[in-house]
C-alpha cells in the first residue's frame, strides 16, 4: 500500500515536486521500519505495560529473558540485544511486528499528503520518527492491547471497537495531517485574497489512479488481515466478510462522493464534472470507514456506512476549502472524515459487538437494541476518538509548531516556486534532456512524424 500512497501523491502534485513526494514516501517506509522496530512496537505491545504505554521488547528483546541470562546482569536493558542470541522472544513474533509496522507506516504516510509540495525534507523525517516511534504506538497500546485503557474499559465489558484501525491509524494520521496543513499554511497561489480558490491540479491522473487502485487492493488485505489468525474455526468467514464489507463500503463511498460532487456543483450553477479524483478519494474514505467494524457487520450496514463516509468526505473537502486550509490530496478529508465516520458508526451497526462482563453475552449494536451497553459502547468509541484527536493534535501542534517557530518547517518561497525536485534532490522527475523523439538527425524535414488521429 505504500506504493499506492506514493503514486496517489506523485500523481496529485505538480511535476516539479514529484521526486520530493516519492522520496517522502520511501523515507517514511524506511524510517518507520527502524523506529517501529526499535521503540515503536515496544511502546505499543510491550508486555508488561501499564494503561498508558508498554515498556518491553525494545529492539525485539525481552527484558525478562535477558535478565535471566547470567551474562553481565548489570547491563542496561538497551544494550541487551547485543548479548542475547534468542531470536524467539516470548510473546513477540516477527510476523506480528511486521504486520503492525506496515500499519504504522500507513499512519505516517497520510501526513505527507497534506503537507505536500511545501514541507522541508529534514523536518518531515524528524516528524516521521516521532509519529511511528511514539505518537502512534501509544494509541495502539490504548486501543489494541488488553491493558490499554480504551480496551480495558470500565470492567463491565465496555471496550473500544476498532477492528482494523479507523481510529487508531486513520484518525491519527488525519489529525496530524490537519494540524500540519494548518501550521504549514497553503501553497503559494492557492487561495486568493478575494476568497476564490485556485485549482493547482496534479500532473498525471493516470499515476494517481494507479495509486488509487493499488490502495483499493491493499485495503482489502489491510482489513482482511486484521483478523490476525486464519486457522481458528470461523476465521475464514470473518476474513471473507471483512473483505466484502470493505469493497462495499468503498464502492458506496465512491459513488456517493461522485454524485454529490456533480450534483452540488450543478445545483449551484457552476461547472459540474464527474471527477475521477473525487471518486477515488471517496472510495478510499469508504474503505477507511470500514476499518472500524467490517468484521462484524452485515453487508447492508457496510453500504450505509460507506454512503455516510462519502458524504463525510465531501463535507470535509468543503470545510477545508472554507477554512482556507490547503490539502493537496484531500488527505484530511479522507482519513479524518472517514476515520471519524468509522469509529462513530461501527458501534451502531455491529452484529456481535460488546460482550457483557458477567454473562458473556454479545449485545450487538445500537440498532439491535438489546442492552444499554451498546449505547455506552457508542459513547466509549466517541471518547476514544476524542482522546486520539487530542493526543495526536497536541503532540503535532507541539512538534510542528516548534519547527515552524524555528523556521525549518516550510521551504523558502524561491524553492517552492522553482520546484523542490531540482533544488532539494538534484533529480527532476522528468529531466528534459532525457526526452527525445527518436528521429535520425539526417532526416530532418524529410521524414514526417507518424501522427495518430485522436
Amino acid at each position: 500500500m505504500q506504493t499506492g500512497f506514493a503514486f496517489l501523491e506523485a500523481g496529485s502534485v505538480r511535476s516539479k515536486n514529484t521526486t520530493n513526494i516519492i522520496m517522502k514516501n520511501v523515507l517514511d517506509l524506511f524510517i518507520g521500519a527502524i523506529m517501529y522496530f526499535a521503540v515503536g512496537y515496544s511502546f505499543a505491545y510491550g508486555q508488561p505495560g501499564n494503561r498508558f504505554i508498554g515498556h518491553n521488547y525494545f529492539f525485539a528483546t525481552n527484558k525478562d529473558e535477558v535478565m535471566k541470562t547470567k551474562i553481565l546482569t548489570l547491563n542496561p536493558q538497551i544494550f541487551s540485544f547485543l548479548l542475547t542470541n534468542k531470536i524467539n522472544t516470548q510473546n513477540f513474533t516477527y510476523a506480528s511486528w511486521f504486520f503492525q509496522y506496515v500499519f504504522a507506516a500507513t499512519a505516517s504516510t497520510i501526513v505527507s499528503g497534506a503537507m505536500a509540495e511545501r514541507t522541508e525534507f529534514t523536518t518531515y523525517m524528524v516528524y516521521c520518527t516521532f509519529l511511528t516511534g511514539f505518537v502512534y504506538p501509544v494509541i495502539v497500546h490504548w486501543c489494541w492491547t488488553d491493558v490499554g485503557w480504551l480496551q480495558y474499559g470500565t470492567g463491565t465489558g465496555l471496550k473500544y471497537i476498532d477492528y482494523a484501525g479507523s481510529g487508531v491509524v486513520h484518525l491519527t494520521g488525519g489529525t496530524a495531517a490537519f494540524v500540519g496543513a494548518i501550521i504549514l499554511g497553503p501553497r503559494i497561489g492557492r487561495f486568493n485574497n478575494d476568497g476564490t480558490v485556485n485549482d493547482l491540479p496534479g500532473h498525471t491522473v493516470t499515476v494517481a489512479a494507479l495509486g488509487g487502485f493499488i490502495l483499493f487492493v491493499g485495503f482489502m488485505a489491510f482489513n482482511g488481515g486484521s483478523q490476525l489468525t486464519i486457522s481458528n474455526p470461523g476465521d475464514g468467514a470473518i476474513v471473507a466478510l471483512s473483505i466484502m464489507n470493505t469493497v462495499l463500503g468503498g464502492a458506496s463511498g465512491a459513488i456517493v462522493a461522485m454524485l454529490v460532487y456533480k450534483t452540488t456543483d450543478a445545483i449551484r450553477g457552476e461547472d459540474h464534472y464527474w471527477s475521477l479524483l473525487i471518486t477515488i478519494n471517496g472510495g478510499l474514505t469508504g474503505m477507511v470507514s470500514m476499518c472500524a467494524g467490517c468484521n462484524d457487520m452485515l453487508p447492508w450496514a457496510a453500504v450505509v456506512i460507506g454512503t455516510v463516509a462519502g458524504l463525510a468526505f465531501m463535507t470535509w473537502h468543503h470545510i477545508m476549502l472554507k477554512l482556507r486550509i490547503d490539502d493537496p490530496l484531500d488527505a484530511v478529508a479522507v482519513h479524518l472524515g472517514g476515520g471519524l465516520t468509522g469509529v462513530l458508526l461501527a458501534p451502531i451497526f455491529v452484529v456481535k459487538g460488546l460482550q457483557l462482563a458477567e454473562t458473556k453475552e454479545y449485545v450487538g449494536g445500537i440498532i439491535y437494541g438489546k442492552h444499554w451497553l451498546a449505547f455506552q459502547g457508542f459513547g466509549w468509541n466517541l471518547l476514544g476518538a476524542v482522546a486520539i484527536i487530542i493526543w495526536t493534535g497536541v503532540i503535532s501542534i507541539l512538534l510542528f509548531g516548534s519547527m515552524s517557530l524555528l523556521g525549518v518547517l516550510r521551504v523558502s518561497e524561491e524553492v517552492e516556486l522553482k520546484g523542490l525536485d531540482k533544488l532539494k534532490h538534484g533529480e527532476p522527475a522528468y529531466p528534459i534532456e532525457s526526452y527525445c523523439d527518436g528521429v535520425p538527425p539526417w532526416s530532418k524535414g524529410k521524414v514526417k512524424q507518424c501522427n495518430i488521429k485522436v
Binding site: K16, I34, I87, V207, K418, A429, E433, P441, C450, N451
Partner: protein, 499 residues
Amino acid sequence: MFIFFMQCGFAFLEAGSVRSSNTVNILMKNTLDVFVGSLSFFAFGYPFAYGRPGNSFIGHNNFFGANVQYFEKSVIANNQTLGGYETSSSYFANFFFQYVFAATAATVVSGAVAERADFSCYIIYSFTITGFIYPVGAHWVWSPDGWLNTGAGTGLSMQDYAGSCVVHVCGGMAALAGAKILGPRLGRFSDDGLDKPIPGHSVPLVSLGAFILLVGFLCFNGASIQRISKNGDGLEVSLSVTNTILSGSAAGLSSMLTHRVHSMVKGKGKYWSLLMTINGGLTGMVASCAGCNDIAPWAALLTGSVAGVVFVFARQFVLWLKIDDPLDAISVHLFGGTVGTLAAPILAIRGQTINGVSVGGPIYGGGVDAWRGVGWSLVGLFSIGLWSGLCCFTLFTTLDMVGLMRIPKSVEESGIDMQKHGEHAYPETFVRIIDDRPETPRKNKVVKRNVASALVDKSLPAITTSAWDGQHPSEAGSSTNGCIEDPTRLSPSTAYNRK
C-alpha cells in the same frame, strides 16, 4: 509468483532510468529475458542446477524435463519408476521457484547494458546465463551434490540462504563484464574523463519499479525456506522478512546520508537523492539475502547500514573505472551481494552444522569452526565471482568480436525505439515540449532540441496546464518543467556532435 512480479519491478526501474527514446527497447529486453529464460532454464538450466544424480560441479539429468514423474505414482500403471530415477513430484513447483531466481540474475545485466546493447546479443546472453552460468553456481551452493554445499572434504557448507552470492554476485559480475566490454554510452564521459550523467526520463517510473522490488524482495527472502509446515518454519520466515525490511531500510537511510555528505564534501551541492535512497535500499535487501534467516534483527540493521555506505562508494569506484552503468546495477548487486555473503556467516546465530549440531556463529561462541565457515563463504564468493566473470567475459568478448554486441552509432544517437521496434514509447500526440526560450547563437549550429524543430505538427494541441509549469504563475506558457538545463546537452545527437 510475487517474485515473478519482481520482473515487472525491474522493468519499470529500467524503463524510468533510460531516456524516453529507448524505453520500448529496455522493456522489450526485460520481457524477452523472462520468456527466453524460462525456455532455457527448463531445458538446460534446472537440470544443470538440480538434476540428480549430478557430480559436484554440475547436474546431469532431467534435460528438457526428462525422467520426471509427471503424475503421482498411483496414476501410472504398474507403479513403474521412470528410467530408474525417481524424481520428486514437486519438480514443477521447485522448477518455477528456481526459475524466478534465475530470471532475477539474468535481468540484472539488462540494466548495465541499457541503451546500447544489441538485441540479438542480449538474447544469446540471456539464454546462456539462465541455461548455464547461473545454474552451475546454483548447483555448487544449493544442490545436495554441489561442492560448496557438501564442503569438498572440509565438512563446511556455504551459507547463502536466498542467493546473495548465487544470484546477485553472479548477475553483478555478468553486468560488470558486459558493461566493461560494451563500453560507455555516447557522450557519457567527455574526452578529458569528466563524468557527464545522462539522467533517466521518469523518476516516478523508477520509484514504481523500486517499490515493486521492495515488496518482491520480502517474498524473495521469505519464501526461500521453501516449505511452511515444519515446526519453526513460521518463525524462520517471519524473521527473514523482518530482517529484509530492516536491512533495506537501514541501507536506504545510510546511502541517502552518505551521498548527501559525500556530495557536500565534493562540492556538488547538498541533495537528498531519491535514486540513491532507493538503490541503497535495494542494496541492503540484496545484502540481507544470504543470512536473513539466521541473523538477529540488530545484525540486519548493521548489514544494511554497511551495505548502504558500500553502495555509494562502489558507485564512485565504478565511475572511476570509467564503466557506464545506467542503473548502478553493478554497485547494487555485485557489491551488495559481496557484503551479504561475508556478513551472513560473521553475524550468524546458528552458523555451521558440524556432525548435525549447530556450532553457532563467531559472535555466539562458534569458535574456530565458525571462522572456517566464514572462510568457506569467502571461497564460495571468489569461486562464483570468478566463474561468472570468466564465462561472461568470454561470452561478451566473443560477441564483440563477431560484431553483434553493440548497436550502430546512428541508432544509438537517435534512439533505438523507432528504429528497432517501430514504436514510440511516448507518441508525439501525447507529449510535445514547447521551447519558447529565445535561441541563443551558437558556433556549431547544433540543433537545440529535436522536438522543437520543423518536424513537429503544429496542429497538435500544446500542453499548457499549470501542472506541468515550472515557472512562476506569471510566466505561464513555457512548459520547460522547471528545469533550466544546458541547451547543448539535450539529445544524444548533440552529445555526439559535441567536441
